[in-house]
Amino acid sequence: MATTEPTLHQLFDLALTVNGTRHEQAVEPRTLLSDFLRHDLGLTGTHVACEHGVCGACTVLLDGEPVRSCLVFAVQAHGHSVTTVEGLGSIEQLHPVQEAFRQAHGVQCGFCTPGILTTVVAFLAENPDPSEEEIREALSGNLCRCTGYQHIVDAVRLAAQNMKAAPQQPAR
């Protein structure tokens, strides 16, 4: 339960679930969720590129919803569940969205990719048969400097197709 006691620059006893695993740690309230995930938990798949909520590279799923982890304090995730790119799939077993990105060459430098993958996984869960325009709209909050977005859009289409053919378990 969230504390209502004054913390006076004290550490906050944070407890949350990340990719299905429970974590407990004392953190400073000002620690951003993006930094907590990357440096306290060592989950460096989530990337930080702007820290003002525009580029989307840090997007994670908070209770299944895509949010900018650079705009959430870690303490706000207390009692909640976070999914990062590491929770979507592994090298041995790629999530269908990850596999589609590979097939369609939707990755170049890979820095924006984790934020796009979490966004897309959440998007396809709610909109399993999107048009190109809907896909671009859904991606409009994720900047990419390498790909020009085209192969990313193709990857999302491919993922939608493949997932319709073989429905998946939701991400943790």
């Binding site: 590129a49 090298i91 060459h105 170049q108 991606l139 909050g141 400097r145 390498c146």
Partner: protein, 781 residues
């Protein structure tokens, strides 16, 4: 025979790691006891530094050290010059002024590093930065290029007579004579403004000095790990072998990460060695806008002389180039501009003169395009102006001037960025342009669709822009290819990688020679411990120069494999094939030997070898082109503009690219798409706004407008392949091709859409506001 791998859409080896968040970027490096750095940066663009009080910062709990220029003592030294002025040109004036580790006396651009705090976390380090008290005397800032050249302008460097950083004059033929023959002479002033590379990954550096082993390891988001290793070793009084620089996965380079010895690269390794603690500095996005290099600012005064039938008799271009506060990168960008101002056209008389100007702004070093877009913008705008005046179709005037296929190699007689004579090695220019015209349906559009849409009240326009791209420049790169005991192939090369698929394209080159699957080729790039000769990824040269070095090394290994296999299988070499990781006797598939076996035979643990035998199946090779290969392309676009709001909608976008042999079309398309997105940014969305005090007004992604998925059109990519004679693979570079012609294309298409208003666009970038102003001005007349 196996199907050739060159030209195959091979999926990328590196993707599974990148897709699962398992790829290591610099900020992912964790070392026990790691400390974190934050820099105090100047708020002023131009000021004298009178004093610094860091005592409060030093006392803050969690702060380990605070360093200033004074603390660096004798170790304080400006960065080395990275690119010297061209030795082969006379009439070169060059004042070398390089960036400093930390400001000593004078601040020369907003964001310049003044002090560094080393603390237990970045959070605490930033708290401590706010504790530092700075005493400075603000000075008037030098911002505007033309004002900077006025005699009464404040000076960025007090020891110089003016803000002139460099001057270079080049000529081909005799422009003045040509001008006298002309039926039409046109003059224009063209202004191009700055943009940022804005790679998604900001810069960063981790330096770990191990006192016991006397060894320094550096992780750096650099496109040039080997020069960083060499220079850092020299600065710190170490042997090169004591320093290892690793450029791990890099989140986009685009040029600024090729700039070397940024202040942070001068300070952090020094601090790590001094404190004997590992230190990490990761740039944040705001810092990136101030402290990472930018490019494009130029002002051109151009004159073109033509005959009545549209043949270009001569071109004269006098321009100012903004280099920012320092000029470590020499004349690379303006040389590129000079070499591209003639485009792919047969221009026999050309005079070009550049004055490089210091300003109180962030340093300028190459950003994808690196001066080429400006050159192409100039010639394409002048041709469009000429076409209008002479009443010649814009496509036709280009056709009449393009270099014909039988004129190659075409010598321009001026020098390029590699200080060699500018020679266009090969090409089939009109064929490429024709293909673009076909793909976009140029004729039908102009003849049928456009008039119909115009009648409906729509403002639609079409544009076409051909361009050259100098690529694959020297000096050289190298590679080592090894068949390992497992039969898998290991490749090491000095050149780094920032997302352009080297792990895969280079694997294809090797796999082609050795008959293995690309996924069985493991590449290590950007680690000086693995390979330590080379320069870096820039000027679209990775595939050409490193690719050819890898090809050469792999070819030598192939010969060694065949030689050894021939002995083992007792069959002449020309009857052997390499396929599936084995060497087989052609037509007798069960007589074969695996590469693994051969590798082990080549490295015996016992017994004697013949004199002169080298162990293993390994080879190191280098490749240095005589000069850079020149690629050619053409972009075409149809757009609609809302004349009331000046908002644009790109209906179609076509590119045709001739970069010689294509190694991997999937990766090539990705490069084109990405380049076009930066080009569209440069053309219509991205502009760095500096005010008259040198303050950057849009240092964030909220206000610096990088195109998102909703602004980008679908891009249709076509190919023509004219092999380059300059290297065995026949390949040319393509990394910057997507970017180069876009601003020129936009200007043409928008003018075409608003043709009834007779707008002329001579600036870049554009914006709805700017178009509205140009439109209103025309209305007022």
């Amino acid at each position: 025979m196996t199907k050739t791998l060159i030209g195959q859409r091979v999926l990328r080896n590196e993707d599974p790691r990148l897709l699962t968040g398992q790829a290591q970027f610099v900020d992912d490096v964790e070392i026990p006891g790691l400390l974190h750095a934050a820099f105090l940066r100047s708020d002023h663009a131009h000021a004298r530094l009178l004093g610094l009080d860091v005592s409060a910062a030093r006392e803050r709990p969690g702060v380990v050290a605070v360093f200033t220029a004074e603390d660096m003592g004798a170790d304080w030294e400006p960065g080395p010059p990275l690119v010297s002025p061209p030795p082969t040109a006379k009439d070169v004036l060059f004042h070398s002024r390089r960036q400093v580790p930390l400001v000593k006396d004078k601040i020369r651009h907003a964001g310049e590093a003044i002090a560094v705090v080393i603390a237990e976390s970045r959070y605490i380090a930033e708290d401590a930065v706010e504790d530092i008290v700075v005493d400075l005397e603000p000075l008037e800032a030098v911002v505007d290029l033309e004002m900077a050249m006025q005699p009464d302008s404040p000076r960025v460097h007090d020891d110089l007579e003016s803000n002139l950083a460099a001057h270079l004059f080049q000529k081909k033929g005799d422009y003045d004579a040509a001008r006298k023959q002309a039926d039409l002479v046109l003059q224009r002033r063209i202004v191009i403004d700055r943009g940022a590379a804005a790679a998604m990954e900001n810069r960063g550096i981790v330096a770990d000095w191990d006192e016991k082993s006397q060894h320094l390891t550096i992780w750096d988001t650099t496109q040039a790990p080997i020069p960083i290793r060499n220079g850092t070793a020299a600065r710190l009084g170490l042997s090169e072998n004591q320093v290892r620089v690793i450029a791990p996965f890099i989140g986009g380079g685009f040029g600024p990460k090729m700039m070397m010895f940024y202040s942070e690269e001068l300070v952090i390794p020094w601090a790590a060695k001094k404190l004997k603690r590992p230190i990490k500095w990761i740039e944040d996005r705001r810092e990136n806008f101030y402290a990472t290099t930018q490019e494009r600012g130029q002002i051109h005064h151009v004159e073109i002389a033509l005959s009545r039938d549209g043949h270009i008799l001569g071109l004269k271009d006098i321009f100012l180039h903004d280099t920012g506060a320092y000029d470590p990168y020499g004349l690379t960008i303006p040389l590129n501009t000079q070499c591209h101002a003639m485009g792919g056209y047969d221009i026999k008389n050309f005079t070009t003169e550049v004055s490089v100007v210091f300003t109180n702004k962030t340093l300028v070093t190459p950003v994808r395009g690196a001066g080429r877009p400006q050159g192409i913008y100039v010639i394409e705008r002048m041709l469009d102006a000429a076409a209008r005046e002479l009443v010649i179709d814009p496509v036709e005037i280009r056709r009449r001037n393009l270099i014909p296929p039988d004129a190659f190699p075409y010598e321009h007689g001026i020098i390029d960025q590699a200080f060699s004579p500018l020679i266009l090695d090969s090409g089939n220019y009109w064929a490429v342009m024709q293909k673009a015209l076909e793909m976009i349906g140029y004729e039908e559009f102009v003849r049928d669709e456009q008039p119909r849409l115009r009648k409906e009240g729509k403002y639609v326009g079409i544009g076409i822009a051909p361009f050259i791209e100098s690529t694959g420049v020297g000096p050289y790169e190298g590679a080592r290819v090894t068949v390992e005991a497992s039969g898998k192939i290991f490749v090491a090369t000095g050149v780094g990688t920032q997302g352009q698929g080297h792990f895969t394209t280079f694997a294809q080159v090797v796999a082609e020679q050795l008959g293995v699957a690309p996924s069985d080729v493991r590449l290590v790039s950007g680690d000086t411990a693995e390979f330590h000769w080379g320069t870096g990824t820039f000027a679209s040269r990775g595939a050409v120069v490193a690719g050819n070095a890898i090809h050469a090394a792999a070819s030598i290994v192939r010969r060694k494999v065949l030689e050894l296999a021939s002995k083992q299988l007792d069959t002449p070499e020309d009857e052997l094939e390499l396929e599936g990781g084995r060497v087989r006797v052609a037509d007798i598939p069960n007589r074969s030997i695996s590469l693994a076996e051969l590798a082990n035979l080549a490295n015996p643990l016992r017994g004697a070898v013949e004199p002169g035998t080298e162990p293993g199946l390994e080879a190191t090779a280098y490749f240095g082109p005589r000069y850079g290969a020149t690629a050619f392309g053409t972009h075409a676009m149809i757009l609609e503009i809302d004349p009331e709001t000046m908002m644009i909608d790109i209906k179609r976008y076509v590119t045709v690219e001739d970069c010689g042999t294509v190694l991997n079309p999937l990766i090539l398309e990705g490069q084109i798409h990405g380049g076009v997105s930066l080009g569209i940014g440069n053309a219509y969305y991205e502009k760095l706004h500096f005010d008259e005090n040198g303050q950057l007004l849009n240092a964030s992604f909220a206000d610096y407008l990088v195109p998102s998925a909703t602004e980008m059109p679908r891009i249709e990519v076509g190919h023509v392949e004219t092999r380059s004679p300059l290297n065995e693979l026949g390949t040319k570079g393509v990394g910057e091709a997507g970017t180069i012609p876009v601003p020129a294309l936009f200007a043409q298409a928008v003018e075409n859409a608003l043709a009834d208003r007779g707008l002329e666009i001579l600036e870049s970038p554009l914006s709805p506001n700017r178009l509205y102003e140009l439109w209103s001005r025309k209305e007022a007349r």
